[in-house]
C-alpha cells in the first residue's frame, strides 16, 4: 500500500469519528436542549434554579474539562468506570451542547411578543394549540441562524476528542507528524473546511426557505 492511500484511509476513518460524534451529539442534544429549556422556564422555582445552575456550570467551564470529568468521575465516584472513551466523549458533548442549545431555544421563545399568545388566547385556542400553531414556527425561524453558528462550532469541537485518545482526524494525522510528515496534519483542515462549507450552504438554504415572511 502506498503511503498516500495509507494517509487517506487513516484520515478518512478519523474524520468518520468526528462525524459520528457530530451526528450523535445533534440527535441527542437538540431534543435534550428543549427539556432543559422547559426546566429553565418552569414556573416551579426549585426546578428553574437547578436547571439554571446546571446551564451556568456547563457554559462556564471548558468542554475539555467536562470530557475529563465524564470520563473519570463515574469510576472515581461510583466505582463504575466508563467502558468506552468514545461514549464518554459523546456524553460530554451531548450535555455541553444541550446546555448551549437550551439557551438559544429560550432566547427564541422569549423573543416572541406576548401579544401572539394573547391573540391566540382571545381566539379561544388552547395553550397547546397556541404553542404548536402560532409560536413554534416563529421560534424556529428565529433560532435557525444561532443554531447554525453553534452547529459549525460543534464539528470543529469534535477534534477535542483526541485529548482522551479517541482517534479522530487530527490525532490520526499527528501519527504521521511523528514520522516527519507535516502535510497530513495541515490537510485535516480541508475536511473541516469542506464540511463547514456544506453546512453553511444548508443553513443558508433553510434561512431562505423560512424567509417568506418578515416579522
Amino acid at each position: 500500500m502506498s503511503q498516500f492511500t495509507e494517509i487517506c484511509q487513516s484520515l478518512f476513518s478519523g474524520f468518520g469519528l468526528n462525524l459520528a460524534l457530530f451526528a450523535g451529539t445533534l440527535i441527542a442534544a437538540i431534543p435534550l436542549g428543549l427539556i432543559v429549556t422547559l426546566g429553565s422556564m418552569s414556573g416551579f422555582k426549585p426546578l428553574r434554579w437547578v436547571t439554571k445552575t446546571f446551564v451556568w456550570i456547563i457554559r462556564g467551564t471548558p468542554l475539555m474539562l467536562q470530557i475529563f470529568v465524564v470520563l473519570y468521575a463515574p469510576g472515581l465516584l461510583f466505582g463504575m468506570p466508563m467502558r468506552s472513551r468514545m461514549t464518554a466523549v459523546l456524553a460530554a458533548f451531548i450535555i455541553n451542547y444541550a446546555a448551549y442549545f437550551s439557551e438559544i431555544y429560550r432566547g427564541g421563545i422569549e423573543s416572541i411578543p406576548k401579544g401572539q399568545y394573547e391573540a391566540g388566547q382571545v381566539l379561544s385556542m388552547t395553550k397547546v394549540q397556541v404553542f404548536f400553531k402560532v409560536i413554534l414556527f416563529q421560534v424556529i425561524k428565529r433560532i435557525v441562524p444561532p443554531m447554525g453558528n453553534e452547529i459549525l462550532t460543534l464539528i470543529k469541537d469534535t477534534s477535542l476528542a483526541r485529548i482522551v485518545g479517541v482517534a479522530e482526524v487530527i490525532m490520526c494525522a499527528e501519527r504521521f507528524t511523528k514520522e516527519g510528515l507535516i502535510g497530513p496534519l495541515f490537510s485535516t483542515g480541508l475536511f473541516f473546511l469542506i464540511f463547514c462549507g456544506a453546512l453553511t450552504l444548508l443553513f443558508n438554504y433553510i434561512e431562505r426557505k423560512l424567509d417568506y415572511y418578515k416579522n
Binding site: 411578543p113 401579544g115 401572539q116 394573547e118 391573540a119 391566540g120 388566547q121 382571545v122 381566539l123 379561544s124 385556542m125 388552547t126 395553550k127 394549540q129 400553531k133 402560532v134 414556527f137 416563529q138 425561524k141 417568506y212 415572511y213 418578515k214 416579522n215
Partner: protein, 261 residues
Amino acid sequence: MPILEIKDIYKNFGKTEVLKGVSFSMEKGDILAVLGSSGSGKTTLLRCINFLETASKGQILVDGKSVFDANENRKISSKELRRKQLNFGLVFQSFNLFPQYTALQNVMLAPTLLAKERDDYKENKTQIIKEIETDAIELLSRVGLSEKLSNYPCELSGGQQQRVSIARALALNPKVLFFDEPTSALDPELTGEILKVIKDLAKKHITMVIVTHEIDFARNVADKIVFMADGKIIESGSPEEVIDNPKNERTQLFLNKFNKE
C-alpha cells in the same frame, strides 16, 4: 335582558389600584365608546373582560349568565374558560396578526381548530373546512380585502393588517366585539379606513365596545359614551350628553384639550 353586564370591577397590580369599581351594561346591538385619558384603565378593563387579566372584585354576565365572578373560588377548567372566551372578540391596538400565515389563514386558523372539537368533524371534514374558508373570504371582502387573501401580514399596510385582525375576530362570531384603540398605531391617513369598517359593522348591529381617542368618530357611531378617569367611569350617557354637554370637570378638561388640537 342586557347582552353584557359589567358589575363593579376592581383590578390592582400589586399595590396600584387600576380599576376601582367599573360597571356598565349593554343591550344587543349597542355600541359603546370608552373615552378617557392615558392611564385611566381602559385597556385594563378590556383585558379583564377578555380574560387576559383576572379582576380582583366584580362580576361579568353575558345574557344574564355569569361568565366571571371574583367571589367564586371554584377553579374553572381551561375548556370552560375557552367556551366563555367565545362570547367575546378583541381587536388589539397592535393587531397581533400571526406573521407566518396569510390573511386568509389568519382568519381561518381559530375556526378550523375549533371545528376539530365538533362531533361530526371526521365525517364532514372537507365540507366543514370549505364552509370556514367561504366564511373567511366573505369576511375579508367585507373589510375590503378580497384582493389580499394570500398576502402575509408583512406585505400589508397597517390599516390592512388591522382590517385582517377585525375579520379574524369576527370569524368566531363573538357576541360582543371589543376594540382597544384600533387606529392609534396607524398613520393618520389610514385611520379612516378602519373607522369605515367599524361603521359598517355598526350598521349590521354588531354589539361593540370601542376604546378610542377619535372623539368625532365616537360621537357619530356610538349609542352610548362612557368617560373614564382614575379607574372609574365618571360620566356616561348619550354622545350629546357626554361629548357636547359634559357635566364633570375632568371630562370637560379632556374634551377641551382635544378641541384645541
